[in-house]
């Protein structure tokens, strides 16, 4: 299938890490640094106040933040990151109403071959505009995206916004014709995951992860629904969509996949209400790394998106 990828290919995202509030600071609460263990050990030892560094900025500004250049920014680990070959980062805050639960940070390294996109879309006057994004080598696509906007219901970001639901799109380049598709196709982008990012106040943010065949963001994507209106009074989640390089489509009309809180990595996200970053997984999803991101609505975890690198 067209989303199948060689698992040996180096993924677009090199580092994923979690920061959680402890008192008035954000403390390290797990991460997957791959080969970049030195950067990992430095990161584990620092904390961020509100407004400090990238995680602190996402907390203070109450929105996802994209950082494409460490030099001259308030990024605190510039030296270590540069030494590790990292050049860009995106911080995604997880809010439960006005309360910050955690900040997920993903970091990427620059390279001529690395194609993908991590984008943050922000609503202005009834349209979603690109707030910022990191595209690796997909420069033309970056330019097109900067000059695109999405009304409600249109395209991946507009669809996520209108339905307030994560959406996993296939064939971004072929069938997904109109909106940015031509350029997405040329850049080799095939699969897109759109995620609503709730923040305090009335602002709307949508995060999109666009994955290319050669340098995939992930080999496996999953979307889980855990709203009481979908799963009842159980503390559980059902898989509503997913795709895997090894197993193919993960959704099934006939056999619902359901987990309870604390069952597996996704269950850990549900049980703790916090993002989870793990590595070296066993079982069917035996990929090198796992990232699970809870999306809150009405005071509880409504959905979980997970990707496996």
């Amino acid at each position: 299938m067209d989303t199948a990828v060689d698992t040996l290919v180096r993924p677009f995202i090199d580092v994923s890490e979690i920061w959680v509030p402890e008192g008035d600071r954000l403390a390290h609460a797990g991460g997957n640094y791959g080969d970049l263990s030195e950067f990992g050990s430095i990161s584990e030892q620092i904390t961020f106040g509100k407004g400090e560094g990238l995680p602190g900025r996402a907390w203070a500004q109450g929105r996802p933040v994209v950082l494409k250049q460490f030099d001259g920014s308030n990024f605190c680990r510039t030296e270590a990151a540069t030494a590790a070959g990292l050049s860009a980062a995106v911080a995604i805050p997880v809010f439960n109403n006005a309360k910050l639960m955690a900040v997920l940070v993903v970091l990427c390294s620059d390279s001529e071959e690395r194609v993908g996109a991590v984008e943050v879309w922000e609503e202005h006057d009834g349209l979603l505009m690109l707030q910022d994004g990191y595209y690796g080598a997909a420069k033309h696509f970056e330019w097109v995206s900067q000059h695109t906007h999405f009304p409600r219901g249109q395209g991946l970001p507009g669809g996520v916004w209108a339905s307030n639901t994560p959406i996993l799109m296939r064939d971004l380049g072929s069938g997904y014709k109109f909106i940015r598709a031509d350029s997405a196709g040329k850049a080799g982008l095939t699969t897109g995951l759109g995620i609503p990012i709730p923040v305090p106040g009335n602002r709307t943010y949508v995060l999109t992860l666009l994955s290319a065949l050669g340098t995939p963001i992930a080999h496996r994507f999953e979307i889980w629904d855990c709203r009481p209106s979908a799963v009842g009074s159980d503390h559980a989640a059902v898989l509503i969509d997913g795709i895997c390089a090894r197993e193919g489509p993960l959704w099934s009309e006939d056999n619902e996949r359901r987990i309870k809180a604390w069952e597996g990595q996704v269950g850990k996200v549900l049980g703790s209400g916090l993002p989870v970053v793990a590595k070296g997984l066993a079982g069917s999803a035996r990929y090198g790394g796992f990232v699970g991101l809870p999306i809150y609505h009405d005071g509880s975890v409504a959905r979980i998106v997970a990707w496996y690198c």
């Binding site: 209108a162 799109m169 296939r170 109109f178 909106i179 979908a230 799963v231 009074s233």
Partner: protein
């Protein structure tokens, strides 16, 4: 034993499932040849919608690939149409040659129904059945700024609309009926679905009748019966399907709506031929959803394997495949005698749940926004279990069964302090509790301190419950009566809600006001109909079904079942020609009683219902329109002769009366409205006991309001003095519009004035000139829509409604 030859025509989901079962229970029993007109094998057709939207790839929905057919020794003849079945020789004739059969399965599915409008064959008009249609739509979405019109607001049409929108098109859905998916949803759930789709940027037009598809060479626009024209680059017809029976008919098999089969799926005409799927008719029914097709496949596999089984029609459930739309419906949810509803609404979460119960059994369910327990409810419908023991908590689902009954106060007590009570003003429970602890002991005080319940009013009940929880027995719930048993809201709450939340349809009010019934009752519907048309004359469409019989019939029903007809006589002035026409009509229709009324009109009493259109037409022909003697609206403007003839007259009272009546007629009001204009203080027109009464004096016009001369007797109060006729008319209109906007339904103006007080009215109608202008403009806007003669309209469009259904007495005599 050598395998028998089985030929299957069609590779839909039913035949795919048949082969799976057959190979499982009778491996090697058949050599299978599979025909398909489409150049491909079996795929999950109901998942085409996510392929259209881009949320699935086609490869993902293929259920049987080449390898599967090869592994099971199936000879595939894909892309080849079957041209004939020769039953005598037992061969199927394909475009590329014949195949002999021992057993034949016809599973040709269904064909889309194409509405027979001009332009239906234009390029760009597509149905929505297969991958080709899907690809045509994806192709159309490839052009920037392109527009799609989807005809049909059923399952398929809405999935197509959502998919095309996600692809980037501007999409309009046209639906002939009053709400979306009317076969699967009731009006309330249909309303929530419409809202949901509109949030996605999809335009939904209800009661939209397609008249023509236009374009040169290709589709360019869709024209509606009301004259609206919608530009379109693609038109998707999704108005329904019908069984595809061409092959069955050509084979000489019995075909009704579909190919007729028995419970073993065997053709009633030929024991070696079987029907399967959407092309068949069983026991008078045809099938469009996948669940019964899978049941049929199972039965047919057993039949072919020589095992006994029988197909039975079972209850169906529906889900819509539009990401983020959670809806479920199952069973029968139409109104019926002996049926009862349990309704739960949560306006804040957009949740609507309705259960239909008959003889202590659940027979239908409609859910929107919360479908968690839908399978449990579906199970109850299928088993027909007695639910009387759990009835009180049934709507809350399985988690609540066996528990104590739910106490709403317990739920409020359990709310944390930060729980939001008033969404409009962002007031939390904690703030309200603090206000109460600081001395606010009733609703008005809490509203004054915190603003909670001060805007749309839906949280009024909740605020009162917080008061009850906090103050205990020091607080007694207010005695104000709710509008009716359907809601806890008062009329005033509902009017505030309609304005505050800009609610423009009845289902919107039911949902936002947490109605406990699915679609209101005889008490609230007429009131809601009035409130909506008064507040949103342009957007809301009058609902005749929500009117009392007199307003539906446009005539007053009398105690013997006949009707009265009263033409309008402007200001009480008539002419010999009008009188002759009235006399002729009275003769022609054998009117037993002709009465001059207290309002200076002539009433014809004792007219048969079926004669109404004809007598209206005759009176219309003489230039007369309905006198609205039956309506909650302007009745009459009574006048005296004024300066034209009277020695005491100070102004042209007749002229002003006619002007007022011509300005006000046709308007709907909370209750009837009567006016009078007297030419001098001697008051021959009895203006001082009317809803609006004008007394002409030398210096101008004294406008009095709020009089009554019925059950209550009351003299008008002076609203204002006007210097000119124009000002007098403006003041009267502004007063009536303020009454229309604020009074509760069935309150005459004097009762309403008793509640709000004359100073409140004066401040708006007399003192605030900008507000007076707004009121007059709002009234005039409403009149552009409602000032029309209902007689002429009914004679033109609905005359047949008045004909008797059957003459039973005659039949009985014969």
């Amino acid at each position: 034993m050598a395998p028998q030859k089985l030929v299957v025509i069609g590779t839909g989901m039913a035949s795919g499932r048949l082969l799976e079962h057959l190979f499982e229970i009778a491996p090697g029993a058949y050599e299978v040849t599979l025909f398909n007109a489409e150049p491909r094998g079996c795929y999950n057709r109901i998942m085409l919608s996510p392929v259209l939207s881009g949320e699935k790839s086609f490869q993902e929905i293929v259920t049987h690939d080449e390898a599967w057919y090869e592994d099971h020794g199936v000879t595939c003849r894909f892309g080849e149409r079957v041209t004939a079945v020769d039953r005598d020789r037992k061969v199927v004739v394909g475009e590329k040659g014949e195949v002999a059969y021992d057993k034949l399965v016809i599973a040709t599915g269904s064909a889309p129904f194409i509405i027979p409008v001009p332009g239906k064959d234009l390029k760009g008009v597509v149905a929505y059945r297969d991958l080709e249609d899907t690809n045509a739509m994806i192709e159309a979405a490839g052009n920037p700024g392109s527009r799609a019109v989807v005809i049909g607001g059923g399952l398929l049409g809405l999935e197509a609309a959502a998919g095309l929108r996600l692809r980037g098109m501007e999409v309009t859905v046209l639906h002939l009926m009053g709400h979306l998916m009317e076969r699967q949803l009731d009006a309330s759930a249909g309303h929530l679905l419409k809202q949901d789709l509109e949030r996605r940027g999809i335009e939904v037009m209800l009661q939209a009748s397609t008249q023509e598809i236009t374009g040169t060479g290709k589709v360019e626009a869709v024209k509606l019966a009301d004259g609206t024209e919608l530009k379109a680059d693609i038109v998707v017809m999704a108005v329904g399907i019908r069984p595809e029976t061409t092959v069955a008919k050509a084979a000489g098999l019995e075909v009704g709506r579909g190919m007729v089969v028995n419970a073993q799926m065997e053709s009633v005409s030929d024991p070696d031929i079987y029907g399967l799927g959407e092309c068949v008719e069983f026991d008078g029914a045809v099938f469009g959803l996948v669940a019964p097709l899978y049941d049929q496949a199972k039965v047919l596999a057993k039949t072919l394997a020589g095992e006994a089984d029988a197909f039975t029609v079972r209850q169906l459930s529906t889900k819509l495949k539009v990401t983020g739309c959670d809806l479920f419906s199952a069973g029968d949810f139409n109104d019926g005698e002996g049926r009862q509803d349990i309704v739960f609404r949560d306006p804040a979460r957009g949740v609507y749940k309705r259960l239909v119960i008959e003889n202590d059994r659940l027979i239908g369910a409609v859910f929107y926004g919360d479908t968690a327990d839908s399978n449990w409810f579906f199970g109850l419908i299928q088993t027909g279990e007695d639910i009387s023991a759990n009835r009180d908590t049934l709507i809350f689902g399985p988690a609540y069964q066996g528990g104590a009954s739910v106490d709403p106060l317990a739920a409020v007590a359990a709310l944390p302090d930060e729980a939001e009570i008033c969404g409009c003003n962002g007031v939390c429970k904690g703030q309200i509790v603090t206000a109460i602890e600081n001395g606010a002991s009733d609703l008005a005080a809490v509203r004054a301190v915190t603003k909670a319940s001060g805007s749309c009013g839906t949280c009024t009940g909740l605020v009162e419950q917080v008061l009850a929880v906090t103050l205990g027995d020091e607080f007694s719930m207010p005695a104000e009566q709710p509008m009716c048993g359907c809601t806890d809201l008062t009329h005033e709450d509902v009017r505030r809600l309609i304005k505050g939340q800009e609610l423009k349809s009845m289902p919107a009010v039911w949902q936002a006001g947490a109605w406990k019934t699915p679609d209101g009752c005889h008490s609230c519907r007429p009131a809601l109909n009035f409130y909506l048309l008064a507040d949103w004359p342009v957007e809301y469409k009058d609902d005749p079904q929500s009117r009392f019989i007199n307003e539906r019939k446009h005539a007053n029903i009398q105690k013997d079942g006949t009707f009265s007809v009263m033409p309008r006589m402007w200001g009480g002035i008539t002419t010999p020609d009008e009188l002759r026409a009235i006399a002729d009509a009275a003769d022609k229709y054998k009117v037993p009683t002709v009465k001059v009324t207290g309002g200076q009109r002539i009433d014809l009493l004792g007219i048969k219902g079926e004669d109404l259109p004809a007598i209206w037409a005759d009176l219309n022909a003489a230039g007369m329109v309905s006198g609205h003697a039956y309506s909650k609206g302007l009745r009459t403007v009574k006048t005296c002769v004024g300066t034209d003839h009277c020695r005491f007259g100070t102004q042209d009272s007749t002229g002003l009366g006619i002007k007022l009546e011509k300005a006000l007629w046709g308007s709907w009001t909370p209750h009837k409205v009567k006016l009078a204009v007297s030419g001098c203080p001697r008051n021959c027109a009895e203006a001082t006991c009317k809803d609006v009464g004008v007394i002409c004096v030398d210096s101008g016009y004294q406008i009095g309001v709020g009089g009554a001369a019925g059950m209550d007797l009351k003299e008008t109060e002076r609203l204002a003095d006007a210097k000119t006729e124009e000002e007098a008319i403006e003041l009267a209109i502004a007063f009536i519009q303020l009454y229309r906007e604020n009074a509760r339904y069935l309150d005459r103006p004097y009762k309403w004035l008793g509640k709000v007080g004359l100073p409140w009215v004066k401040a708006r109608v007399v003192d605030d000139l900008a507000e007076r202008r707004r009121l007059v403009d709002a009234f005039l806007l409403s009149q552009t829509i409602y000032q029309k003669d209902p007689w002429a309209e009914h004679v033109r469009e609905q005359a047949e409604r008045y004909a008797p259904i059957a003459d039973i007495t005659l039949e009985a005599a014969e």
